[in-house]
């Protein structure tokens, strides 16, 4: 008996793996296997209807380099991600700071700002197509009331990407706010009390105490927003379908179009793999940088 218990104690890690085995199987089946399959597909021309595939080597990747629409999609995706990460995180932090302090009706405001996050992206985007209508939309009506020039919004190749960014900030800022509120509430009051005693004003306390100490949470928010932004699809598909004039085409939309409109699954798989590499690379860089701002208190 003693011997058996000893063996169990010695090989505890076996049991750990046994307990996580179900999730490992599910994760492997639905995440790892499709990812590997996508990588394999990227070296083939595939016809899923005729169930045929033949190897083409690196041809799909070489085509990507010379595909102006894909290159435009990469540029648009990175631009979108940059704006979303910076603006949505900054706005989230500002809102979180406001709601961490005692604000009358704060709970209601928090709920209002968080509501878009739990709304279906597709449903919300459909509503926004009406709001953005250049002739009858709410936004232009409001601009007209204030005597401001109206915009073409999603009907213009110059304004469409910006319009999608505005929608996406509206959609994500609530989530960022909630996570950052949690981060800010973890900062012990004693730091702020010391700051007040030292004569630091509200702004100084924000930049010298709140921001550095909430940095780990902030980094999580940045990484989460980056990954989400690089995978943007729903709102683009509904609001603009990548137009006008490819002004809002993004990588995932191109993957979708190549796979399900042009039936080029191998080519779409190579796009997916490139996106995967971009996301992994950016995430690793962000993770490495984040270690500089680790804090403990």
């Amino acid at each position: 008996m003693h011997g058996i218990l000893g063996t169990i104690r010695k090989n505890r890690w076996h049991y750990a793996y046994l307990f996580i085995l179900p999730i490992l199987v599910v994760f492997g089946l639905f995440r790892i296997y499709p990812s590997i399959q996508t990588l394999v597909y990227s070296f083939f021309d595939i016809n899923l209807v005729a169930k045929t595939m033949h190897g083409v080597g690196l041809k799909n990747f070489l085509l990507l380099v010379h595909d102006p629409t894909f290159l435009k999609a990469i540029k648009n995706t990175l631009t979108f991600a940059l704006y979303i990460v910076v603006l949505s995180t900054a706005l989230g932090l500002i809102l979180a700071s406001l709601f961490t302090s005692k604000l009358r009706g704060g709970a209601i405001f928090k709920a209002v700002y968080f509501a878009p996050f739990i709304t279906s992206t597709v449903a919300a985007a459909v509503v926004w197509t009406f709001l953005y209508n250049p002739r009858f939309g709410l936004f232009n009506s409001v601009l007209e009331i204030f005597g401001l020039p109206t915009r073409s919004w999603i009907s213009s190749s110059k304004e469409a990407l910006g319009s999608i960014i505005i929608f996406s900030i509206w959609k994500t800022v609530g989530y960022n706010m909630v996570i950052l509120i949690a981060g800010l509430q973890n900062i012990p009051d004693s730091f702020y009390e010391a700051g007040i005693i030292d004569g630091a004003g509200a702004l100084r306390r924000f930049f010298s105490i709140s921001v550095p100490l909430v940095a780990p949470t902030l980094i999580f928010v940045v990484m989460y927003n980056t990954i989400l932004a690089l995978k943007v699809f729903d709102q683009v598909f509904v609001l603009t379908a990548g137009g006008p004039a490819e002004a809002t085409t993004v990588v995932v939309l191109q993957i979708y179009k190549q796979a399900f409109e042009n039936y080029r699954f191998g080519y779409a798989a190579s796009m997916a793999f490139v996106l995967f590499v971009i996301i992994i690379a950016i995430t690793i860089i962000q993770y490495r940088l984040s270690r500089r701002w680790e804090v403990s208190y």
Binding site: T69, S152, S157, T240, A241, P244, A245, A247, Y256, F260
Partner: protein, 428 residues
């Protein structure tokens, strides 16, 4: 005791019901939801257009509405998963892609021959996949892309309300004359409403009159499933697209803020638009009952050149994955027979396909019949190329780039030509 007997009778009846249900065969038909095409009206209304066929053949036909924007993809995904419907009401421009993958059943040669000899030339044009081969029956209400205009607006602008502009120069001048701006100079009504957003296929559909009218060849060989050459970057095409661009940015008689041409005409915020005649015909009585409108062939580049009217159609096709192919073929043949053609075209105030039906009332003496037949004399269809998807994607991407100043006319067309020919070569 009586109750017990009733329960027993019901109990005994249950297996009988199952046997009856099991005997009944089932066909599934997918059609585009919403008002994307007036020809899906029979499925959108309360009455069952399949009732007679179901009764005669002990079959149940399930009609399933599929969102148009993703219908092609959903069909493809269903095919890839081996779960395609038996019958699809599919867009003409999708057929090449499905035929390429062997997904559509060819209509039996004898039936195809009978159809071709019985229907009018515009229907032949959208049914023939080369040498009389057919992969589906085109619907009634063929999609003829016509210039439609608001007669009251023409009159108010001092134009003859019954005469449409014939050539590009007249068309441009008419657009300028009928556009309206408010006191701040903002355009409140366009002379010509142009499509510049959405799927590339839809964009080419709406610009076909200008592109093909100017000599563009989406494929030099109309009936070649593989091969051929796309001739896109041509002088007249460049001139035409430059004109369209200048109508927005120089004349300011059109605008990119009116992206739905049909709706713009029906909402009276456009005096002219060019799209499927059948849609305006079916929608106008309910959506704009007081609209007085006319239709004619779209303008041609100049005197001596014929206009081009795109003729397209939705098709009832049978998928090769159907386990009831023979029954499905019988169903589509029945649905598109002469009597159903007559009854449906009459019911929806549209155009029939059979020559005999054109000779019957109300079509024979309807004032619009002659105008329609005059219109489809200029009919052209998309090439049957299996690379049509890629070609339309290329051209459909070029047009908005020009209209939005994202590329010069020459650059946009040059790239489109290269991409279209790449798509053709990829299938050789």
């Amino acid at each position: 005791m009586k109750k017990a007997l009733i329960v027993l009778a019901l109990f005994l009846l249950v297996p009988v019901l199952f046997v009856t249900a099991a005997d009944k065969k089932k066909l599934t038909l997918w059609y585009p939801a919403g008002d994307i095409t007036a020809t899906s009206m029979p499925f959108r209304e309360g009455t069952d257009p399949w009732a007679q066929f179901e009764a005669d053949n002990n079959v149940q036909v399930d009609v399933v509405a599929i969102d148009y924007d993703t219908m092609q993809q959903k069909l493809f995904t269903a095919l890839a998963g081996g779960k395609a419907p038996d019958i699809g009401m599919i867009d003409f421009s999708w057929m090449g892609g499905f035929i390429k993958d062997g997904a559509l059943v060819a209509i039996p040669a004898a039936d195809a021959k009978t159809w071709m000899s019985s229907v009018s030339p515009d229907t032949v044009a959208v049914s023939d996949w080369g040498g009389g081969k057919m992969y589906g029956y085109s619907t009634w209400g063929v999609d003829a892309y016509a210039l439609t205009w608001n007669k009251d607006m023409f009159k108010a602008a001092g134009l003859d309300p019954n005469v449409a502009p014939k050539y590009w120069a007249d068309f441009r001048a008419t657009s300028k004359k009928t556009a309206v701006t408010d006191s701040t100079g903002k355009l409140t009504r366009v002379g010509y409403a142009m499509r510049h957003t959405g799927q590339p296929h839809g964009i080419v559909d709406k610009w076909h009159w200008l592109l093909v009218g100017a000599g563009m060849q989406l494929n030099s060989d109309q009936f070649a499933l593989k091969g051929g050459v796309a001739k896109i970057n041509l002088p007249d095409v460049r001139d035409g697209l430059q004109m369209a661009h200048d109508m927005v940015w120089v004349d300011k008689s059109s605008s990119l803020d009116f992206p739905d041409p049909r709706q713009a005409l029906l909402s009276k915020i456009a005096s002219m638009q060019i799209s499927e005649l059948v849609s305006i015909t079916v929608r106008q009585p309910t959506e704009a009952p007081d609209l007085v409108w006319g239709f004619s062939a779209p303008p041609s580049p100049r005197a001596g050149m014929d206009p081009k009217v795109q003729v397209a159609a939705w098709n009832y096709s049978v998928f090769t994955q159907s386990k009831e192919q023979a029954l499905a073929l019988k169903a589509v043949a029945w649905f598109n027979n002469k009597d159903n053609d007559y009854n449906q075209a009459k019911k929806y105030n549209s155009t029939p396909r059979y020559k005999e039906n054109w000779a019957r009332e109300p079509f024979a003496s309807a004032p619009s019949t002659k105008s329609f037949l005059d219109l489809v004399k200029y009919g052209t269809t998309y090439p049957r190329s299996l690379a049509l998807n890629g070609i339309l994607d290329a051209v459909g991407a070029a047009v908005p780039k020009i209209l939005h100043n994202e590329a010069t006319v020459a650059d946009a067309l040059s790239l489109a030509e290269q991409q279209a020919n790449d798509a053709i070569k990829a299938l050789q």
